[in-house]
């Protein structure tokens, strides 16, 4: 389980996270929604250890992840898979080499076994046969799927998705969401996703949390969040401009 308690972060005196509390049950898909600039990406960067909190705790399996350094931090990260917003594929490598990279660097598998696992991973995301192309030679949707294949090829326990459908058309958004759902069903990883896709994420998530002005203002099953009496949540779900717009 991932447990976040009182997470705070400021930049140049400007608070971005003002005490985030969140619990992510094992094997669930938890989606964090919220307006742009609300701190979602900063929050995710704390969860994956790219930023350190000013105060508060991030527990991963009972370990205070936010305070770990060096090898201890890397040991926890080995249980992670991360899908970045733009895919973050290595542009000097082909799609196949990108997916093979974590296996080549983090395991002692033979090249034959790596090739087999890469084929399986690309097949699972519906990209069998495009592996020899470079990231710049494939479409945005394909890049996202290669990124998902790379994140999942080491069979991580926890997978983080940073707006995995940004910039895609509605059909591709649903395709990627269905793909994540299918992969989750077969692999049972714990997923934390940051997304803007309303209402699509309600079909995907087990739990939805809304981050607003640096705090989780609502969290629960999709139906409960959709039926929330909080005007901020309702305003965001309906896409209505706020008083500050």
């Amino acid at each position: 389980m991932i447990k976040v308690v009182g997470l705070r972060k400021s930049f140049n005196g400007q608070p971005v996270l003002r005490g985030v509390d969140l619990e992510v049950p094992d094997g669930s898909i938890t989606v964090i929604i919220g307006r742009s600039g609300g701190g979602k990406s900063v929050f995710l960067k704390h969860l994956i250890g790219l930023m350190r909190p000013d105060s508060g705790r991030i527990e991963v399996g009972g370990v205070d992840f936010g305070r770990l350094r060096g090898r201890a931090l890397d040991e926890v990260r080995k249980r992670y898979g991360v899908v970045f917003q733009g895919g973050a594929l290595f542009d000097s490598m082909s799609c196949r080499e990108n997916v093979a990279f974590p296996l080549r660097e983090k395991t002692r598998l033979s090249s034959t076994d790596i090739a087999k696992q890469v084929d399986t991973a690309l097949e699972r995301v519906g990209l069998a046969g495009i592996g020899d192309k470079y990231p710049e030679e494939v479409s945005g949707g394909m890049r996202k799927r290669v990124a998902i294949a790379r994140a999942l090829v080491t069979e991580p326990e926890i997978v983080f998705f940073d707006e995995p459908t940004t910039g895609l058309d509605p059909v591709l958004v649903n395709t990627i969401h269905r793909l994540i759902q299918d992969l989750h069903r077969t692999s049972r990883f714990t997923a934390v996703m940051v997304s803007h896709e309303i209402p699509e994420v309600f079909d995907l998530a087990d739990r939805v949390g809304m981050l607003h002005e640096g705090r989780i203002v609502e969290i629960g099953p999709p139906a409960a969040v959709q039926g929330s009496s909080d005007p901020i949540v309702q305003q965001f779900i309906r896409g209505e401009p706020g008083a500050d717009q």
């Binding site: 994956i48 250890g49 790219l50 990260r77 992670y80 991360v82 973050a88 594929l89 542009d91 983090k106």
Partner: protein, 264 residues
Amino acid sequence: MAEPPLASALRPVEGLGRFVLHIVNSAGRFGTFLGQALAAMVTPPFKLWPLLGRINYIGFRSLLIILLTGAFTGMVLGLQIFFTLSRFGSEAFLGPAVALSLIRELGPVLAALMVTGRAGSALTAELGIMRITEQIDALTVMALSPMRYLVAPSLIAGLITFPMMTALFDVVGIFGGYLVGVELLGLSEGTYFGEMQTFVDMGDIMTGFWKSVCFGVIVTWVCTYKGFHVSRGAEGVAAATTQAVVLSSVLILVWDYFLGTVLP
């Protein structure tokens, strides 16, 4: 409310303090970065292919520019020094003058400046783009050290290739001087090379060698640091690339002076 007169009088001092803090802070981050890179260089497992890739990128692909600039530098030196020496009737010393100028000073400095312009800027831009497209973050969250994968191979490649590039620059430059002094201006071949053997000793060669080693570290260190810490998208990459080239070039010249005073 009006500002107290003392506060406005102290503003330049405050500005100076902020500037000094910024310099100290930057120097600290530069130093920490180099320390981490050096630690990554000596931490196994060692990756041969990334290193060979960097040697190719920094060294092999700079060959043409080194050959061209080396040849013309030697030719210009041959021409200018010949006319200067001929005023004193000392043309016989053309060979040692060209060789010493190249081996001790111009070879290491100009080769380093050329490699900075060609490979250093590309190194910064490459790392900068990797930073803004989250490729460096991707390495980090895979529990793989970007220092070991991206920075350490560049530093080692700099240590290996800069002395080799400098040696090549020197040799080509000496033959450039030969072309002008012997083939065009009529100095005898024996005089050109014979006097060179008399006046150039191992100490001169080692001076040039140590300079090139230092410049190899400076250029790869500054360029990888600037690329590694890019922010603000494409504009940030452009700014970092310019800063890397300017700072590397300035440091090469400043360090050249200090080494010139310390080395025999």
